[in-house]
Symmetry: C2
Subunit: 146 residues, 2 copies
């Protein structure tokens, strides 16, 4: 769709980084100052809902989402993983895969809830450093699916 | 786990209604005053993350989640479906499957965001009436999977 930002596949460097792109999906490392390691798995074609996809397509997408979850857990050791497909603002299927920590800005709320705290700078810095390992870890996790 | 509310499987009538229970999962119709049709698909056993499940278990759970999505779309005709597995407060796998409407209390934010508006009473009433068809629609959708 011409007015859909996820159809355009434009990604400004300040928004994030394309980590992997396949025929059907792509994986973005989101540049979120409060939640390092936040990734997004996007279906390339414009489709609104998971149940608009065929069963095979759903499986393929969820397999990628869980590969990203696996890589995030391996690299970041979060206290919890959050996974969500919302799309109220951009109704083009995309999954948020977010490592959550007990001291992160929104914990224990959702990543879309009110900020509850400031993460200690030293923790944030350590996580941002760890995130540098994430693109390779995700690519390896996806390669191992084949 | 003894202190996990989702392990206990207690459900007060004011919290919601058990719609379906299988060996591995159960489906709850949540009693949310602002979001009629809000459902929860809960893994019965205490497990924190999707990637703690085997591949077969993940597939089984997601198939149920999408069956619930299908039934919700069929009955409620929402503007968008939101699906999320968060679990920051209760780290026991449960999926929220939420029909969203442009005039609902949180749109276009997440169901965990700040309220943006009051839904017109007449719309809420119509949706609450529709929800009465949902338990049967979900049971049928799940039965058709077998």
């Amino acid at each position: 769709m011409t007015n859909c930002i996820l159809c355009k596949e434009d990604l400004k460097p300040e928004e994030g980084q394309l980590i992997w792109r396949g025929d059907d999906c792509r994986v973005i490392l989101v540049n979120d100052p409060d939640l390092p390691g936040f990734c997004r798995v996007i279906w390339n074609r414009h489709v609104s809902e998971m149940t608009d996809l065929s069963h095979g397509e759903r499986d393929h997408l969820m397999t990628l989402v869980f590969a990203v979850e696996e890589a995030i857990r391996h690299v970041m050791h979060p206290d919890k993983i959050n996974i969500a497909a919302l799309g109220n603002m951009v109704p083009h299927i995309h999954w948020h895969v977010i490592p959550r920590f007990k001291d992160d800005a929104f914990f224990p709320g959702s990543a879309w809830s009110i900020k509850t705290q400031e993460t200690p700078a030293i923790s944030l810095e350590a996580r941002r450093k760890k995130v540098q390992e994430l693109p390779t870890a995700i690519r390896v996790a996806i390669a191992e699916l084949a």
